[in-house]
Symmetry: C2
Subunit: 327 residues, 2 copies
């Protein structure tokens, strides 16, 4: 017997450590404002020691999407590796409390649960410094017929490729899931991640991936195009379903000949833009697994993203569907 | 050589685990809305399993006051016990990042760092369920001439009496600190705590304590009076300095013949009332160690409390003094 779910996420399980900081700290650390940086444990200690009082909460890009999908009422499952430490307990608790079926037990040895030190400057920009810890131990042996189950869609994130066995376990997950008729979705994570793994992503998108979730920077990095028009033209060479978010320019859905443009919803005040893309993916995929039209998938993605940027925190909460109506 | 500080706090070092919940959960758990309950590890696991996704941050009543005092620019030190686990690291990091001199090293064995499961209902009320863990191991041997140093004031909280060696270590701290000329302040924590330890607190207030920080419920529980007028009359029998907060009725300072009434500041919207009393104490004590008049101490306490209820989170942040002017 294998576990069923509509959506299975496979990603880096991360606890966020958030603090407001002065721009000076970003400068002193020599990091690019707004970037996501991979750091080792030594650097993590260094940055943490320089940060002010912080707040901790579960994070991770695709983990946010899976949590949002569950909060929309979807049946979700998750594969990601944490250690049996307090942050690991926090991460798994938060997922389980939403009804997400957490498929892996925490590691009893090895590196501690991953943490991302998120430095928030006065302009609301977030600079992430991620120590992958236990995530890097996610292994090919964690991906089995049993842990995959029989989902309608599997969602992988580009960041998984930053783990030593990431490319191999992603391929194995795709093989098992595809054989069982699941669709494969890939979130491109961030443009630097795309640069790190461009050839691998390109190969996966050409062969294996059904749905590509990306923002404009990421898709441009993948296709090495120079403008968005050029990007759209380049997509003609692919038969995947693309959902591309463009911040205040809305989003574009492309699938073969079909092209749908979804405008962004104007909001009075952006409280916190974190998680907008992850929330969009949650809404889009929730629509997709429930056989919404692509236009309605895009509308629900936009609805979720609009909700999340008007609240503190990266995960959409329960009740987000209240007020949403399909066309 | 001993470490100097203006204020030394001795209290239960706690990490808060906060989640929004339905009123139904409070009812199902059979707890009094708005109360602080002491729970064991088994009950802590039970409650955590029933809570939704949560946010973690450093807490603890007097720890909040010490953090606020440091954020006002005061020179602060802290004695409280955490374990060498991730929550312990979070707690000590948050204190140190404010410049607080953390006097004890984390325990290398024993119970995990304390956590309070704070259930926030739709009406903004917070119901606390505290597993004291490592706090209960704070010991008489932790209180030495070296760890006390030479502060201008020592602040204890009533909750310390909930720990097995609490009464003894509090007495030892008072003895060492008094001999060195420090003033002793006691925060009464909550009215249920006062009921648990009334005789001990009464004895300490009569002999040893210089400054009593309390809200109306707590002072009424201590003096077993029936009205606030009766309470004020009863205070004539004490020569301590009392700072009594009364929510929207403001605060009252009483010291022998001196009586000062400080009105509350009207605010448009209370975002989160948590930590109002702790913030008041931070402002009041910052004024006191800096030789403000009692009226100005009360004004700064009110200023800090007014600030903290208009933000999310229980600790006042740096810059809170901007705009405050003494009379």
């Amino acid at each position: 017997m294998t576990a069923t779910s509509q959506l299975l996420g496979i990603s880096n399980a991360i606890v966020d450590i958030l603090a407001h900081v002065d721009q000076q700290l970003i400068d002193d650390l020599g990091i690019v404002p707004g970037s996501m940086n991979l750091i080792d444990e030594q650097r993590a200690r260094e940055i943490y020691a320089m940060m002010g009082p912080a707040t901790e909460m579960s994070g991770g890009s695709v983990a946010n999407t899976v949590a949002g999908f569950a909060n929309l009422g979807g049946d979700a499952a998750y594969i990601g590796r944490v250690r049996d430490d307090q942050f690991g307990e926090v991460f798994n608790h938060d997922m389980r409390s939403l009804g997400v079926d957490v498929r892996l037990a925490p590691s009893t040895d090895g590196a501690p649960t991953a943490r991302s030190h998120i430095l928030i400057t006065g302009d609301g920009q977030r600079t992430m410094n991620t120590y992958l810890g236990a995530c890097t131990e996610l292994s090919v042996t964690d991906i089995t017929a049993e842990t995959i189950g029989t989902p309608k869609a599997v969602l992988l994130e580009g960041y998984v490729w930053d783990c030593p066995e990431g490319p191999m376990l992603a391929q194995k997950a795709i093989d098992i899931a595809s054989e069982r008729g699941a669709a494969i979705a890939l979130s491109l994570s961030d443009s630097f991640c795309v640069q790190r793994h461009r050839d691998a992503f390109e190969g996966f998108v050409r062969d294996g991936v059904d749905i590509v979730l990306a923002d404009e920077d990421e898709i441009v990095a993948l296709l090495q195009t120079k403008s968005f028009d050029e990007t759209l033209a380049a997509l003609d060479a692919y038969d995947n379903l693309f959902a591309i978010t463009r911040s205040e320019k809305g989003s574009v859905i492309k699938h073969g000949d079909q092209l749908h443009t979804q405008p962004a919803t104007r909001v009075d005040k952006v409280v916190d833009s974190t998680g907008a893309g992850d929330a969009y993916s949650a809404g889009f995929l929730f629509g997709w697994v429930n056989d919404y039209t692509l236009a309605d998938c895009a509308r629900l993605g936009t609805w979720c993203a609009t909700t999340v940027i008007q609240q503190l925190g990266a995960r959409i909460e329960r009740g987000v569907l209240d007020g949403f109506a399909r066309n």
